[in-house]
């Protein structure tokens, strides 16, 4: 556990940099975490992030496939939006826990 400051807000994060409390998240925080991952967020990114957050709030285990079938983007698109580790990176930027699924 550590505290980090993103966009002027102190948030608690895990050792791997995932927010421990999804409710602390806002778009400015997302933008700064994304920069750490080398990603500049576009409206499309935010659509994915909102989807992930909504699914997480419902208690759904997220998979690449479920995001690919969300209607927002397909699997290929997800890899383009969040290269080299799409589910982990998008989850981290969305302020939700590290994904636990193997698919």
């Amino acid at each position: 556990m550590a505290t980090k400051n993103y966009a002027g807000v102190n948030v608690t994060v895990t050792e791997e940099g995932y927010l421990t409390d999804a409710s602390q998240w806002n778009k400015d925080i997302a933008t700064e975490i994304a920069r750490e991952e080398g990603i500049e967020l576009t409206p499309k990114h935010f659509e994915v992030l909102e989807y992930l957050r909504a699914q997480h709030a419902k208690g759904v285990t997220l998979t690449i496939r479920s995001v690919g079938n969300s209607g927002i983007t397909d699997v290929k698109g997800l890899y383009i939006l969040f290269p080299a580790g799409p589910l982990k990176k998008s989850s981290r930027i969305a302020g939700i826990p590290k994904p636990t699924s193997c698919v």
Binding site: E16, R65, V103
Partner: protein, 168 residues
């Protein structure tokens, strides 16, 4: 990940799938998909009966063997008698169950799973020796198979620092 740095990360995996039963093929596909999900470069090499997984007519119709598998259990957990496995329809029933259990975990059919791997940047190859031996034609293979290659070429593709070869 930016915060946790692993000293010698796996950068590339070359996965060999040599068997054609549901569990053997999926073991390779889960490893491959897991790799691309982590941003690890991935080459999949299908040989011998594993070629069924990239043969259009067969890939979504794989079976689990019901004889000679001592780890096989009945739904309640009791041992699965090998003699039961020889009865007509049992293999189909068990295979159907395997697939439905995997579908419940959001694991897609073989062709879709392969597509996810390719969409993530993975590459799929067929072994030339087995391809010739089974008298297959290029059009028999799944459309996104990148090439039919020799073992030598496979090792070339697998080369590199932080690269691992996995035989499933």
């Amino acid at each position: 990940m930016t915060i946790n740095k692993i000293e010698h990360p796996v950068k590339k995996v070359a996965i060999i799938v040599a068997k054609g039963s549901i569990e053997d093929v999926y073991a390779g596909l889960v490893m491959a998909n897991g790799a691309v999900m982590e941003g690890i470069e991935c080459k999949l090499f299908f040989t011998f009966f594993g070629l069924d997984a990239i043969t259009k007519k067969r890939q979504d119709n794989l079976k689990t063997g019901t004889v000679g598998n001592p780890a096989m259990r009945m739904p309640g957990g009791l041992p699965f008698p090998t003699l039961l496995g020889i009865l007509p329809g049992v293999e189909a029933g068990v295979s159907y169950m395997m697939k439905s259990q995997m579908a419940a975990l959001d694991i897609p059919p073989v062709s879709e799973f392969l597509e996810m791997i390719v969409d993530g940047g993975g590459e799929v190859y067929a072994c030339k020796l087995a391809f010739d031996m089974f008298k297959l034609k290029r059009e028999d293979l799944w459309d996104q198979v990148k090439d039919v290659i020799t073992v030598g070429k496979f090792y070339e593709l697998a080369a590199g620092e932080g690269s691992q070869i996995i035989f499933t």
